[in-house]
């Protein structure tokens, strides 16, 4: 299980690196996606318990509710990740439209060149 957390944190670090050091808006947005993917993986791994079953309606739930509750994975992180995915797609869509705008105005996707081109 620890391996999940290591990979999650590596993804976060990768996203941060891309966000801070890349000089292309679309690359930066890709970095943002990777960063949030890492956080999602982290959250889902938190809720998992080994040998667990999904917390959805099933036949087992009707026959043995306490047993089901003891074995089911924690559904709260899943709800969090769902919300976070929704938010993330909003941000990505908005950021991409801004990137297209900036390309039309400046002809570049390099955020550090934006102001210099105007003056």
């Amino acid at each position: 299980m620890d391996f999940n957390y290591i990979i999650a944190m590596l993804l976060v670090a990768l996203g941060l690196y891309c966000l801070l050091l890349k000089r292309n808006l679309i690359k930066i947005i890709i970095g943002l996606a990777v960063l949030t993917d890492g956080i999602h993986l982290f959250l889902i791994s938190l809720g998992y318990r080994s040998g667990g079953i999904a917390a959805i309606v099933s036949g087992e739930m009707f026959s043995d509710l306490p047993g089901f509750a003891a074995r089911a994975v924690d559904p709260i992180p899943q709800a969090l990740v769902l919300t976070s995915i929704v938010i993330n797609i909003c941000i990505v869509a908005f950021a991409l439209s801004l990137a297209i705008y900036s390309y039309r105005h400046y002809g570049t996707l390099d955020p550090s060149k934006l102001r210099r081109l105007k003056e």
């Binding site: 999904a54 959805i56 309606v57 009707f62 769902l82 929704v86 869509a93 908005f94 991409l96 439209s97 297209i100 705008y101 039309r104």
Partner: protein, 144 residues
């Protein structure tokens, strides 16, 4: 953006009902099986966008205009809020379930949850279609 070749159009037209139905299934069975309002709405939006891309945005726009999508999005959002307010009017607190619970495992069960999912699905599908419009339409007064 112009349309694509006849093969793509035919496949898109054939696939459209199935993807749309699959999205609707996911929305309506959100309280029973994996899925729910958001993924279902995304799949519905994807099926519509597939038609857009195959037939060209100009022709598609005659069918589902910007205004339609905007109104649908508002209606979806309003539906969620109004459902929540039902709880206040009839029950105790916001989003309190006031509908009969039904039998666990049946389609018409879980109180207001399926209706909420319907609202979410409508809003998400309409909202995503709007985003596609805004991004494809060369930003003449782009929304979002």
């Amino acid at each position: 953006m112009a349309g694509m070749t006849v093969i793509v159009r035919t496949i898109a037209r054939l696939l459209f009902p199935f993807t749309f139905l699959f999205g609707a299934y996911i929305v309506l069975h959100g309280h029973l099986t994996p899925g729910g309002g958001f993924p279902g709405g995304v799949i519905i939006a994807a099926s519509v966008v597939m038609l857009f891309l195959a037939y060209g945005i100009e022709r598609a726009q005659k069918r589902v205009g910007f205004l339609h999508a905007e109104v649908l999005e508002s209606v979806g959002g309003l539906a969620i809020v109004v459902l929540g307010l039902f709880g206040i009017l009839l029950g105790i607190t916001f989003l309190q379930n006031v509908f009969p619970l039904g039998t666990l495992g049946q389609l018409f069960s879980a109180g207001n949850l399926p209706l909420l999912y319907l609202g979410v699905g409508t809003k998400v599908a309409a909202g995503l279609i709007l985003i596609f419009y805004a991004m494809l339409f060369a930003f003449r007064g782009g929304e979002e």
